[in-house]
Amino acid sequence: MYNNLDNQPRLQRPPLVPQPDPFSNVFYGAGSGLIRDGLGAYGERFLGSSSEFMQSNISWYFSNPQYYFQVNNQYVRNKLKVILFPFLHRGHWTRITDHVGTRLSYKPPIYDINAPDLYIPLMAFGTYVVLAGFTLGLHGKFSPEALSMQVSRGLFGWAFEVMLLKGLMYYLGSSESPLLDMVAYGGYPFVGISLGVLVRLVWSYALYFVMPLGCISMGIFLVKTMKRVLFTEMRTYDRHSSRQHYLLLFIAMIQFPLFYWLCKIGA
C-alpha cells in the first residue's frame, strides 16, 4: 500500500490551494511521514520550514523553498539595483558555491548577491497587482473582476517566462536546475514591469522611454544569469556554441512583447 502511495506523489501536481487546519495535527503528521519516506535522502535537512503546511505540501516537489527567503534589507536593495541597472554591476555574476557535504549547493541569498530569491518576485508581483488596480481606477474601469483578470494575466505571464526558461534549460541539455530557481528568475521581470506601470500612471508617454530601457535591462540580466547557469551545468565541449547564444538572445527579445502585454492595462 505504501509503495503505491510513494510513486503517486511524483506524478501528481502539488495542490495549489492549501487546506490548513491549525486544530488538528494528525493528518499532517501522517502526510509528512509518507512524503519523507518517499524523499529518501532529502530527509530532515531540506524540510526546514516550521509550518506543517509547507512541509507536507511543497517540500517534496520543489527544492527547499526556505532557501529563497533568506533575505534581508540590504540584499533586497542591492538586488533591485542589479535588476534595474545590470550594466552597472561591476562584480561577477556567478553564484558562490557552498560546500555542504557532498552535494553541490549555493550560498543563500543573504551572502550572495547573485543568488535567486523568491521574496522579490512575490513582492514585485503584488506591487504590479496594486498598481494595475490604481491604473484601472484612474481610468474609471476599476472593478474587482477586472483586477482579478489582471492578476490572471500576470500569473500567466510569469508562468510563461518560467516555462520558457525551463524549456531552454532542457533544450540545451542541462536539467538539474531546480524549478524554484526558474520561478524566481521568471519573476524578476515584474520589477521592471511594475516600474513601467508606475511611470505610466504619472505620465502616459513616459512609458515609451521607460519600457525599452526596462526590457533591455531585464534582457541583459536574464542573459547573464542564464549564461552562468548554463555554464555551471554543461559539459565543456559544448561551450561557446552559437546555438546557445541565439537562444539567449531569444530570451532577451521575448521580454519586449511580454512587457508590452503586461504594461498595457485595460486602456
Partner: protein, 264 residues
C-alpha cells in the same frame, strides 16, 4: 409468594440455610415479609428503568413496600427539577449564548481600542486570536461599501482569505524555523488591523469621490493599518524583528489593495 424471608439470602456454604430461623441483620422481621419480589440484593426493583431513581441505600428494608411505589414518583420529580439530564425545564442552567459561541465582547472592544491608537501597540491583548472581531469588522466594511453603492461582501471575504494566506506564507518563510505564526492567528491579525480601513470606508462616504482628499485620507489610513499590523505580527510571533521592513511592505500591499476597493 407466601414465603417469608428475613433477609435476601446471603448464601454461606457453611450456613445451614436457615431462612426462617435466622433473623436478618436488620432485626426487623416484619418488614422483610413485605418485599414483593425476590430480587438479588444489588438489583433494584425498578418499575420503570428509564427513570433516574436515586437509589439511596442497599437496605431496601427501609423503603417499605407502600412507600416503594410512591417513592419513585417523588424521586423522579426531584430528578427533573434539579436539572438532571437537561430535560425541558432546565433553561436557566445553559450557558449564555455569546459565551457558548466563544464571543467575548469585552475582549473585542478592548482589542479594538488598542488598535485605535496607532502609536502604541499592546501585543498581549492579541495573543489569543479570535475570529469574531474580524467578522464584525468585515461586516461593517461591507455595510459601508453597500452604503456607497457597491456590493462587495463576497469579494471582501475572498480577498481577506487570500491576503491572510499571503502574509502567512511570507512571514513563515522569512522567519525560518522559529516562525510560529499559525494561520488562525494570521487571519485574526489581518482582520483586526482592518479597522482603520473600515473607518476609512465610513469617512469616504462623505468625501467627494475622485478628489485628492480621498487619496490623502487613504494614504493615512493605509499607513496606520500597516504600522499596527507589522508591529503586532513582529511582536506576537517573537522573531521577525530583523525582517520588519520586509513584512511591512507585505502588509502595505495588502491594505492598499483593500483601500482600492474603497476609493474606486
Amino acid at each position: 409468594m407466601a414465603k417469608e424471608f428475613n433477609v435476601p439470602p446471603v448464601v454461606f456454604p457453611s450456613s445451614t440455610g436457615g431462612n426462617t430461623s435466622t433473623i436478618g441483620p436488620n432485626q426487623t422481621g416484619t418488614h422483610q415479609r413485605r418485599i414483593p419480589t425476590f430480587t438479588p440484593p444489588f438489583q433494584p426493583s425498578n418499575p420503570n428503568p428509564t427513570q433516574h431513581l436515586p437509589f439511596m441505600s442497599f437496605d431496601v428494608g427501609s423503603a417499605t413496600a407502600s412507600s416503594s411505589f410512591s417513592a419513585p414518583v417523588f424521586s423522579t420529580g426531584n430528578g427533573y427539577s434539579t436539572g438532571m439530564g437537561g430535560g425541558p425545564g432546565s433553561f436557566e442552567d445553559e450557558l449564555p449564548l455569546l459565551e457558548e459561541l466563544g464571543i467575548n465582547t469585552r475582549q473585542i472592544w478592548r482589542k479594538m481600542r488598542s488598535i485605535l491608537n496607532p502609536l502604541k501597540v499592546n501585543p498581549n491583548l492579541h495573543a489569543d486570536a479570535d475570529l469574531s472581531g474580524p467578522f464584525l469588522f468585515l461586516m461593517a466594511f461591507g455595510l459601508f461599501q453597500l452604503l456607497a453603492g457597491k456590493l462587495h461582501f463576497g469579494i471582501i471575504l475572498g480577498w481577506v482569505v487570500v491576503a491572510a494566506l499571503f502574509l502567512y506564507v511570507v512571514f513563515n518563510m522569512l522567519a525560518g524555523r522559529d516562525g510560529n505564526l499559525d494561520l488562525y492567528r494570521c487571519v485574526s491579525l489581518v482582520g483586526y488591523c482592518m479597522l482603520p480601513i473600515v473607518i476609512f470606508s465610513a469617512l469616504a462616504l462623505f468625501v467627494p469621490q475622485g478628489g485628492v482628499a480621498v487619496f490623502i485620507l487613504g494614504a493615512i489610513f493605509v499607513i496606520w493599518a500597516t504600522r499596527v499590523c507589522t508591529r503586532l505580527v513582529v511582536e506576537l510571533a517573537s522573531c521577525g524583528d530583523e525582517h520588519r521592513g520586509l513584512i511591512a511592505y507585505a502588509c502595505f500591499l495588502i491594505y492598499t489593495l483593500f483601500s482600492l476597493l474603497v476609493i474606486f
